[in-house]
């Protein structure tokens, strides 16, 4: 489509992933596999890539985690410019935005963006040692407040305020499990019933174990180029990026958010018109020059099943408190009005932090090309991703065919 932002389009020439799982190998291997798949998909030679951006993770114990250069060396030094991004779960979007900015500035023509992760088991917990000035450490010491407990706070509000039920949350898992059945990159490819979810142990009331996503190994990569470079490569109508929203919150942020003890106070300055998560999508729509009604497909961060419902409302795909209605009516299932997480989402992947926001864009690219075999949203022309990184990192990407 054309519009206000059409001069700021960049082309997605290639996408690639290393399947998600618990492979127990180096993140470099997943990243290189994803990069080679994306290069092959695009027809671009690695030697012609003039900018590489790596999405990294700062989790303790990762030797040599200076991601951009690590991937560049693994692919063989080619003299490209290099950058590295870290924005927690939003890392991939920030890495993509870094590549886009250089391309739009005319400083680069063809960029490779890579993110990959190898994850530990269980709850993501802080590293050892005493750090009394670190809220991410203190929340465990003083409150025993885990990530699922934060997800559960919002899930509980959906129940108490909007009449959501544990069965609704389970239905999100059932839907996403079905979506991901045929996705070759998904880690979990198995039907799940609502009874399975409800029979799994409660982790943080009202969320059950099967409501909450796992952590996974995986890698995703994208070849991003100028529209002109795409034409030179013989691709006249590539899937393109219309917007990347990497906004921070606006003070005062009055919604309880991981890993904090409290919200900002609205005592001196009134709360902003939009919550942080609402503002992430709003900025993306504004940049792309489109409305929520224009969206055909969404990939949102279902860290927990209830979080998918939150995002559907935060992206204004329906009114506040109505996501369950959409879900129950089958509107968010493939074939419905606005399919959400046709890839299977985090429910089928588990989270590989620095790769996940890129994986969302890979999926939308396949959807918009009509190549999402076994999970295709028919006729999809515009897709949106949404995700939020710890400590105030927005992440939403809008792509169009």
């Amino acid at each position: 489509m054309s519009g206000a932002g059409s001069n700021n389009d960049v082309a997605i020439l290639g996408v690639g992933m290393h399947p998600w799982g618990k492979w127990g190998q180096s993140f470099v291997k997943y990243g290189v596999a994803a990069a080679r798949a994306a290069l092959a998909d695009s027809g671009v030679n690695w030697q012609d890539v003039d900018f590489i951006v790596g999405g990294e993770t700062v989790r303790n114990g990762y030797g040599g985690y200076v991601a951009g250069a690590t991937f560049a060396q693994a692919l063989g030094w080619n003299g490209a410019r290099v950058a590295t991004s870290y924005a927690a779960c939003a890392t991939g979007a920030q890495a993509l935005d870094t590549a886009r900015a250089r391309i739009l500035a005319g400083l680069s023509e063809v960029a490779l963006v890579v993110g990959a992760d190898t994850t530990p088991k269980g709850f993501l917990a802080p590293v050892a040692g005493e750090r009394w000035d670190d809220p991410d450490w203190l929340r465990f010491r003083l409150m025993g407040m885990t990530n699922p407990a934060y997800f559960a706070l919002n899930a509980r509000r959906r129940i108490d305020l909007y009449g959501a039920t544990a069965e609704d949350f389970a239905a999100v898992k059932v839907k996403n499990a079905k979506h991901g059945l045929n996705n070759p990159n998904a880690r979990y490819r198995k039907e799940v019933t609502a009874a399975d979810v409800l029979a799994s142990p409660v982790v943080s009331n009202p969320l059950h174990l099967l409501d909450i996503c796992a952590t996974s190994d995986g890698g995703a990569a994208i070849i991003l180029t100028s529209m002109e470079y795409a034409r030179k490569m013989g691709i006249a109508e590539p899937v393109r990026i219309k917007a990347i929203s990497t906004v921070t919150p606006t003070f005062p942020q009055t919604i309880m958010d991981m890993p904090n003890f409290s919200t900002d106070s609205a005592s001196a300055v009134p709360a902003p018109e939009r919550t942080f998560k609402e503002s992430i999508g709003y900025a993306a729509y504004e940049e792309a020059g489109i409305s929520p009604e224009d969206v055909d497909v969404a990939e949102v961060y279902d860290l927990a099943t209830s979080v998918e419902l939150d995002w559907i409302e935060d992206l204004a795909l329906c009114k506040r408190g109505e996501a369950e209605h959409l879900l129950r009516a089958g509107e968010t299932t493939i074939g419905g009005r606005i399919p959400v997480n046709p890839s299977g989402g985090l429910a089928c992947f588990g989270e590989a932090v620095p790769a996940q926001a890129l994986a969302q864009v890979c999926e939308l690219t396949w959807q918009l090309r009509g190549q999402a075999e076994g999970r295709q949203v028919e006729g999809a022309r515009i897709g949106i991703t949404a995700n939020q990184g710890l400590f105030g990192h927005g992440s939403s990407v809008i792509v169009s065919a």
């Binding site: 005493e130 465990f140 010491r141 009055t254 003890f261």
Partner: protein
Amino acid sequence: MSDTATQAAGDSVTPAVAGWFTTGPAPALIGTSCQSCGTISFPRETTFCKNPACSGEEFEDVELSRHGKVWSYTDAQYQPPAPYIPTTDPYVPFALAAVELPEGLVVLGQVADGFGVDDLKVGDDVELVVEPLYTDETGVRTIWRWKPTTTDTNANGAQA
């Protein structure tokens, strides 16, 4: 030789974190008020005011309201990982609440001993209490917690 001293230290009851809450019969969280714009913060702000329109760097301690309304709540059915310090073996789950205070902010905390998610609803009234969190080499370490004050109505609701 130092048995007596150790014993004495072991008997002491002190906050698990210094300067975050007062103790005594009417305990309260200690926040700060920006001397330039009046923004309230908890935990205490000591560096820069978070208000983007304010460059304030001076803050005055203020005690926050001891009463608030439940914004949301949950529990920890699995033992949280370190640095959480478990106090019982086997582990006993506890509840958590996010509470909206009249100062315009929401503050998290564990829920008082003896209360669980069935005792809570969004919008319920709670008050701040101070209770033991764990015991270390210095003695009992305490923490603020939220205690339901409208449990009668909720007890009925929970049975429904």
